[in-house]
Symmetry: C2
Subunit: 170 residues, 2 copies
DNA sequence: CTTGTCATGTTATTTCATATCATGTATTGC
DNA sequence: GCAATACATGATATGAAATAACATGACAAG
């Protein structure tokens, strides 16, 4: 709602997926922040849910539901698909995690808190995923939608290509 | 390459999915045009492939691979998954059909011929799908990608919501 | 304590997609 | 024409993603 039509809106929040950073701190603060928000809003960040979020934060890339499930099993949680899918549903529903449709996989949100419609850059070689703000829903596509009388509720914006690292190596 | 940065690029080609039109003619001309392009480019629009394209043009909405397969069986073609997937691969590869990632389903291209990165509006109620030009890859997301050093090769842009018809009824 | 709500466990099934190998059918070069 | 080749299809099996349905458990409100 803030800077939707501004063409440089996206520059305000650089993607973090491809950048060096203190990852342990990054994970830790994201978890703490998630706990805080859940407390505030009366959401229940149960052990499974917390574990799944932690895994996704730790990985910093997209994981399939069954990869998550494997890790859950290793940690002593349930090992049937619904266990993973239910935790993921909760996390997606509440904006802690996004689903990458192109990969049928899930990634932790990089801009938690604020409600946003994310856009992703997906490296086809190393599976790294970076999240940016899309804004395209309100902008370009939004114009087409209004013209057609279509009411947008949610958008999927995913770019596939090569990340900086993989581009260099090639 | 023509109008990538122009914010109204999308307005040039209105979506056809939600509009009344002479559907039989629409299907027929699209098929003829596809045949023409295949001849030109030495592509082989075999019976299965042609049939699948015809089905998708006829439906004018997204169909899953197995729905397509059912219809193929009814028409006397093979009935195993690879039959449908191979035909779809060919059609997608050559731009006659697009995959809707959100639905794991396929839809005939509405702007065939020109190479383009499509954007879709998907009605969550009636499954209607309209195709518009995205341009967002080169525009908004493109800026973020360049900033991050990410090289975009392909984009998925899909908006989910309510089509005009379904909005009216609600 | 009991009732209602939400979360989890568990089994089974459905839906989507691909690997692999065998067979057929067009072109192309000879 | 005929063999060689490439491409397309048929057919079997399997893998991967997602959900349906029902049972059990935790916990808080009344
Ligand atoms: Zn996000
Ligand atoms: Zn990469
Ligand atoms: Zn198209
Ligand atoms: Zn509709």
């Amino acid at each position: 709602m803030t800077s939707e039509t501004h063409p440089n809106a996206v520059a305000e929040t650089a993607p973090v997926g491809f950048q060096e950073h203190d990852h342990q701190t990054c994970v830790k603060t994201a978890l703490v922040s998630a706990e805080g928000r859940c407390k505030e809003e009366g959401l229940r960040l149960t052990p499974v849910r917390r574990k799944v979020l932690e895994m996704l934060l730790q990985e910093h890339r997209a994981l399939g539901a069954y990869a998550i499930l494997d890790r859950l099993r290793d940690e002593g949680f349930g090992s049937q698909p619904p266990v993973a899918y239910r935790a993921l549903d909760f996390l997606v529903q509440n904006g802690f995690v996004h689903k990458i449709e192109r990969l049928n996989a899930f990634v932790a949100c990089s801009h938690p808190g604020a409600s946003h419609s994310p856009a992703f850059m997906i490296c086809r070689k190393c599976d790294a995923v970076a999240e940016a703000q899309s804004a395209s829903a309100k902008g370009v596509l939004g114009a087409a939608a209004r013209a057609a009388g279509f009411e947008i509720e949610r958008t999927v914006v995913e770019a596939e290509g090569l990340c900086p690292d993989c581009t260099e190596k090639a």
